[in-house]
């Protein structure tokens, strides 16, 4: 058992080298900035539990009572389902808090890593990622993984 744990740990350690993007059907690291974590809280206006990525639209109330529209991208329904989401987990009008990473292009788009649902549960919105800056640097001499 110790040997097996070590093998898994070693594999994971190896897997930290390199870009370290979460698996997605398209490249998170190109679209989202892992060094720009952001948390938003607002009111759901739209919820689409669809493949390949689910989407939530949220209106965030600013101090001056104006609303800013945010778009949240999350994982596939099968991922969400395994992590506790159902199609009725949220609906327009619900309060929602989302933590994630902002889009590189500066738009109000985030990859929703975690959500606090209206019923209080904390659930994952997508495969968890560790920002590249928090990872081990590549071993010198070893070819970078692209």
């Amino acid at each position: 058992m110790n040997r097996k744990r070590f093998a898994i740990f070693a594999a994971l350690l190896l897997s930290l080298l390199g870009a370290g993007s979460a698996f997605a059907h398209h490249s998170f690291s190109a679209e989202f900035d892992f060094d720009k974590p952001v948390t938003i809280h607002g009111s759901v206006t739209k919820w689409e539990m669809i493949n390949p990525h689910s989407y939530i639209s949220i209106d965030v109330k600013n101090d001056d009572e104006s609303l800013t529209h945010w778009s949240v991208q999350m994982g596939a329904p099968s991922f969400l389902y395994r992590n506790g989401w159902r199609k009725d987990s949220i609906k327009p009008g619900d309060d929602l808090t989302i933590s994630g990473f902002r889009a590189k292009d500066g738009t109000n788009t985030i990859f929703g890593q975690q959500a606090r649902l209206p019923d209080g549960r904390q659930v994952l919105g997508g495969p968890a990622v560790t920002p590249p800056s928090a990872q081990n640097p590549p071993t010198p001499g070893k070819p970078a993984n692209q």
Partner: protein
């Protein structure tokens, strides 16, 4: 075998070979079908393996249709209610008619969406049943859709929709019962706008009636759209050609933005690489340095 029964079978066979439209079952066939003892797997469950295909044109309209485009007329595959019509709620009928009017664009299958259940069963392309003790899957050609039929002792997944639904199966005698829920509301029942809501519940029954025929019967209930459950029935035929197989079916986006099926036998299916040309185009866009001569 008595002579009238044999004669019926011979005529039926001739009709079958000459006309793809479903023919009404003959009384002699029913006797044989009812008495058919299917081959079995080692656990005693009937062996449904093989490549199967419907020969009905219900995919155009489950309620039947007149002769069109050189094809024969077809009767409804609905056996209950007796009038062969889907028992829509009044408001739902209006929606069906609206679907029908807009079907060229609105039919989800016309944009390569998975057909759903039961539409996938009577598409004009074959499907394959793969089966071993404790495992059964129905693999369709169109859009490489499949139903993985899990034991009915496992509850359905709830609170999520799948285009091909969520399937649970068990055997009653020699009949496979496949209970399908979670079908969502994004599929139609045919190309004529017949549709359902996300409350659709389909119970399909598969029974071998001969070495190369299988009876398919399905009861559909959907309190959001239909005033009562209704039932379809037709025969599935085994593809006995040696080397018969389910071919891959993917779609590509066309110039008009609609997705079209791409046949793997079509020479246009293959992309022949031309790396120098690709790099030359990139250089012309200033994205890479032009190749030195």
């Amino acid at each position: 075998m008595n002579r009238p029964g044999f004669l019926f079978s011979a005529i039926a066979a001739a009709l079958l070979l000459s006309c793809p439209v479903l023919r009404a079952a003959e009384p002699g066939d029913q006797n044989q079908a009812a008495n058919f003892v299917p081959p079995k797997l080692s656990d005693g469950t009937p062996d449904l393996r093989g490549i199967w295909q419907a020969r009905t044109s219900a995919y155009l309209n489950v309620e039947g249709h007149p002769a069109l485009d050189g094809g024969a007329a077809a009767k409804s595959i609905i056996v209950d209610p007796a009038d062969g019509k889907i028992p829509y709620l009044p408001a739902a009928l209006a929606q069906r008619d609206a679907n029908r009017k807009d079907r060229k664009d609105a039919d989800p299958a016309s944009n390569c969406f998975q057909a759903g259940v039961p539409r996938a069963v009577y598409l004009p392309t074959p499907f394959q049943i793969v089966q071993s003790v404790g495992n059964l899957a129905i693999v369709y050609t169109d859009d490489h859709a499949f139903q993985l039929v899990l034991p009915s002792t496992l509850p359905h997944d709830d609170g999520i929709d799948f285009f091909m639904g969520d399937s649970r199966g068990h055997w009653e005698g020699n009949t496979l019962i496949v209970d399908v829920t979670d079908l969502g509301d994004q599929t139609w029942l045919d190309a004529s706008g017949n549709y359902h809501s996300d409350q659709l519940h389909v119970v399909g029954r598969y029974t071998l009636t001969g070495p190369n025929t299988m009876n398919y019967e399905a009861t559909l209930e959907d309190p959001g759209v239909y005033s009562r459950p209704w039932t379809i029935r037709f025969t599935l035929y085994r593809d006995k050609q040696p080397g018969a197989r389910i071919i891959e079916d993917e779609c590509l986006e066309g110039a008009d933005g609609r997705w079209q099926h791409l046949s793997p036998f079509d020479p246009k299916a293959v992309v022949h690489h031309d790396y120098p040309a690709e790099m030359a185009a990139a250089a012309a866009k200033g994205q890479i340095e032009p190749k030195k001569p």
